[in-house]
Amino acid sequence: MEQALTLFFEYKEEIFIIALSIFLGIEVISHVPAVLHTPLMSGANAISGVIIIGGIILVGHADLTSFSVNLVLGILALIFGTLNVVGGFAITDRMLEMFKKKKK
């Protein structure tokens, strides 16, 4: 119990952010029409590609002078993250373009 409380204190800012983000996520997306379920999911999916920042940090401070498995894995993380971000936003845009075309 004490340990849990210590943890909470240590990470209080982050825990606040989490609590508020959950609320925000729920508020922002409730009442979304069914037409937008797929684009919304796919757009949100692209946002989860924010993990790319972790990839940039990893490879950014990696030692490039010697070859290591970790370096390869880091670069893989970078590529996967980029795929998620760029592919995700691009496919969402393509979907929405399709919806828009018919509006006129």
Partner: protein, 470 residues
């Protein structure tokens, strides 16, 4: 004091990125602004990426060296080109697969980041080890689970459901949790626990595969949005490792949004999330339906064409079969032909029709069906009594009356499109086989209903020709 300016700018850019994510997502949930919203979120991401590259410092205050910058730019370039080409070139109808594939790559990235950061954790620092392990496990499950989901949507992986799998999955889950707890509370330095971390990674990957494997059919939209939520949560956990607010907020935002969508899909099937994950539709699906004198009435193409042409109002209920047959363009051709004859044609969309949330909407939009013709379930049900003909194409469980009148049926209580309220029903179907859930559908035997057997595409093609010749 140079370094503090850089640090502040970096944090400021994260704040702006986070705000762009929130506004982007908000705009994405309204049809008129959705495209702008996507662009906003994307620019937030671009901003965060650029400032991280330029301004990020490691714990000893060193920025990213020039050499590393070039390497990063090179591989981001490769990833971007690949992502862009895939997203632009792949056929629109392969959309569900693609969304799963991109989700898998996000999960993989989270898993790798957590795996690589774990050895840097300080022994006994329970907090950072906790988030690292969570990021690893959730990321790995999202990754392998999404790969299997992709395989299923692409028709490469079948639904495998054996009774023992429920127990095996439960066992795997307990094992994964136990090992995670062991790693988190262990006082040993992380570098001594690498074996455990590798086993945990493997276990999580296997669990992801096993947990998606038995799920299929109408449960697919639930799983897809759940996996989406998991990727978001995994990214947020990685954000914890770096104390990066943009990552935490972005990830949790996606997690919360994905959970809502998951719940929405569950509600559309009147099932709990646990029920979807643990058990597929119950084995004893026989229900109370009386057998014996069941006869199926068939309708000829020309009769169907006449019936449709002289109706005032027609509803089309599309299902996964329409997507499989790739018959959406023919479907649209039929509806424009009928509209030209003065028939009012609309589409009734069940929330879980298809294999991902909103699948039918995307499919029909690809065939240029205007989205104001797509009617959500409740509204469509209100209009059913004034409808002359309902055509069911490739849908089964979402129109099964057993959901309303057979308490013994596994889908009892699931909201359906009440096609029997309409005057006539035509079901287009390949054969008399039951749907994914293997639940008998009494709609087929109802006096109001007639069957039009055959491949949806071929039947629609013939129907279009018949209607034209009238």
């Amino acid at each position: 004091m140079d370094f503090t300016i850089g640090d502040s700018l970096l944090e400021l850019s994260y704040l702006i990125a986070a705000l762009l994510f929130v506004f982007g997502l908000k705009l994405l949930s309204h049809p008129a602004t959705a495209r702008r919203g996507n662009l906003w979120a994307a620019s937030g991401m671009g901003l965060a990426m650029i400032t991280t590259l330029l301004l990020h410092k490691n714990s000893s205050g060193g920025g990213i060296p020039m050499m590393n910058m070039w390497v990063i730019i090179l591989f981001i370039g490769i990833g971007s080109a690949l992502g862009w080409i895939i997203a632009r070139k792949v056929k629109m109808t392969a959309m569900p697969q693609l969304v799963s594939l991109f989700n898998a790559s996000g999960g993989a990235a989270s898993m790798l980041v957590a795996l690589l950061e774990y050895p840097n954790a300080i022994a006994g620092d329970t907090g950072s080890i906790l988030v690292t392990v969570l990021g690893l496990v959730i990321g790995a499950i999202a990754f392998s689970g999404s790969v299997i989901a992709w395989g299923k949507l692409d028709g490469r992986v079948g639904d495998i459901m054996k009774p023992f799998m429920t127990y095996l999955n439960l066992f795997l889950l307990v094992l994964t949790i136990a090992l995670s707890v062991y790693i988190i509370i262990s006082p040993n330095p992380p570098t001594d626990l690498m074996w455990a971390i590798y086993i945990l990674t493997l276990l999580s990957l296997i669990y992801g595969v096993m947990f998606v494997m038995p799920i299929g059919g109408a449960d697919m939209p639930v799983v897809i949005s759940l996996l989406n939520a998991l990727t978001g949560i995994a990214a947020a956990m990685a954000g914890f490792i770096y104390g990066n607010q943009a990552m935490i907020l972005g990830g949790i935002l996606v997690g919360a949004a994905g959970m809502i969508l998951t719940m929405l899909m569950c509600k559309a099937m009147n099932r709990s999330l646990l029920n979807v994950i643990i058990g597929s539709f119950g084995g004893s699906a026989a229900g109370a339906a009386g057998d014996g004198d069941k006869t199926v009435k068939e309708i000829s193409l020309s009769d169907a064409a006449v019936l449709l042409s002289y109706s005032q109002k027609v509803y089309i209920v599309p299902g996964y079969g329409l997507a499989v047959a790739q018959a959406q363009h023919l479907c649209h051709e039929l509806d424009t032909l009928l509209a030209a004859k003065g028939v009012e044609v609309k589409y009734a969309i069940h929330p879980v029709a298809g294999r991902m949330p909103g699948h039918m909407n995307v499919l029909l939009a690809e065939a240029d069906v205007p989205y104001d013709k797509l009617v959500e379930m409740d509204e469509a049900n209100n209009e059913m009594p004034n409808t002359d003909v309902v055509i069911v194409i490739g849908a089964n469980d979402v129109v099964n009356p057993a959901a309303e009148d057979d308490p013994g049926s596994p889908i009892y209580g699931m909201p359906i499109i009440k096609v029997l309220d309409a005057k006539n029903v035509i079901v287009m179907k390949r054969s008399m086989a039951a749907g994914y859930a293997a639940i008998p559908n009494n709609l087929f035997y109802h006096p109001k209903n007639s069957m039009l057997f055959g491949d949806a595409k071929a039947s629609l093609q013939k129907l279009v020709t018949e209607v034209k010749s009238l």
